[in-house]
């Protein structure tokens, strides 16, 4: 289910292992360590949970329980096109949950997850400050107002077409080189 670790992430985690050796093994270090790892690699992959559990000599379940309590920790890598669907009051009233559901269905992932190709991730956020445009979704840095199911289709499609185009061009260029 979870996207696999990239080579880069693996090497970051190796560094993390070395860094951990410097940190004391008190239970109170649990949250700071989780924050440290997430600051390095943007999420908490499964191996990280185990690393921390081993370091502090507590069960991986305990680490997992603490980590899931806080919104600041995520367990999936952010996609290249992170989608944030606003669930603030205004957007909620204007059907934000329908927009979220559409993204989830279209991308075949649940809120908080990332597509296996890491192209998209979806999460819910609180008011993003442009309620007049409700319902609002943000993809990457761009705010999309007055969202509709058809717009969800369009946004996802555009990214996928763009990606295909790039890949085709890469293929065209590569054998020639």
């Amino acid at each position: 289910m979870l996207p696999e670790l990239t080579a880069e992430e693996k090497s970051i985690l190796d560094d993390v292992k070395t860094d951990l050796a410097e940190i004391s093994k008190e239970r109170s270090k649990l949250i700071p360590i989780l924050q440290f790892i997430q600051s390095k690699i943007n999420y908490l992959p499964q191996v990280a949970i185990n690393l921390v559990a081993d370091h502090l000599d507590i069960s991986p379940s305990e680490v997992y329980g603490v980590a899931t309590f806080y919104n600041q920790f995520r367990f999936n890598p952010p996609g290249r096109n992170p989608v944030k669907v606003c669930m603030g009051t205004a957007c909620h009233v204007r059907g934000g949950d329908i927009i979220l559901e559409n993204f989830e269905r279209k991308l075949e992932i649940k809120e908080g997850e990332t597509t296996p190709d890491r192209e998209f991730s979806v999460e819910r956020v609180a008011c993003v400050g442009c309620c007049a445009l409700a319902p609002v979704a943000i993809m990457g840095e761009t705010v999309h107002g007055h969202m509709q199911p058809s717009k969800v289709e369009g946004l996802v499609l555009r990214v996928r077409i763009e990606k295909e185009k790039q890949e085709r061009e890469k293929q065209k260029n590569e054998p020639g080189k």
Binding site: Q46, I49, N50, S59, S61, E62, V63, Y64, G65, T68
Partner: protein, 213 residues
């Protein structure tokens, strides 16, 4: 030894005895879900075991009281009963009621407490919320039923007690709270199949073995 009065009954107990246990041991029933004997720090999370103690302003969960002096306790005052009824109704408002198809039927703590408090199992005036997932089947040996679970935490406690480290945990927060677990990929198989402490400790049927035998 200390002598206390509970509902006009005299009990003589050892100093330091847990008040809830003292009552239960002497056939004075107090509804309870989250207390496990010999707990050093009862979580007092189910909010069911309230009693009134003379001299105290407010009702107190009996599981948090250690008997250290002669006290006068009331377990059935209207105030206590009101608190217990509300606590139970809140639990039932997030409970998938399906006793006929439930393994706990007839030995279920919720049924027993509801009967004792004379509260209907069907919540009437509260909104009913259920979690999306009916059964979590990821665990190699256990199935977990989020909509049956009363989040008492007994399973976690007994697991830690027996295995030093708890293999179970609370995960998430608020209405999304569930019992969960995290297994190291490739780790040696868990001892759960032989242990089963959590299954025995569960007051409902929220954790069951995958293959029932």
């Amino acid at each position: 030894m200390i002598t206390i009065r509970v509902d006009n009954k005299k009990l003589t107990v050892k100093e330091g005895t847990n008040l809830l246990k003292a009552c239960l041991d002497n056939d004075i029933y107090i509804p309870n879900l989250c207390y496990v004997e010999k707990m050093s720090h009862p979580p007092a999370s189910c909010r069911l075991c309230f009693v009134e103690i003379e001299g105290e302003k407010h009702p107190i969960p009996a599981c948090t009281v250690k008997v250290t002096r002669e006290i006068v306790v009331k377990t059935d005052s209207p105030g206590v009963r009101q608190l217990q009824k509300v606590a139970l109704q809140l639990l039932l408002s997030v409970h998938h009621l399906d006793c006929r198809n439930c393994e706990a039927n007839r030995k279920c703590a919720l049924q027993k407490i509801a009967k004792f408090l004379n509260v209907g199992l069907k919540s009437k005036h509260l909104d009913h919320f259920l979690k999306e997932m009916e059964i979590d089947q990821r665990h190699p040996f256990l199935n977990y039923y989020p909509n049956r679970c009363v989040l008492c935490g007994r399973c976690i406690h007994v697991c830690r007690d027996r295995n030093k480290q708890a293999q179970l945990t609370f995960a998430n927060r608020g209405f999304d709270t569930v019992i969960s677990f995290f297994i190291k990929p490739g780790a040696p198989p868990l001892q759960c199949d032989a242990c089963r402490a959590c299954i025995e400790a569960c007051p409902v049927a929220a954790i069951l073995p995958k293959i029932s035998n």
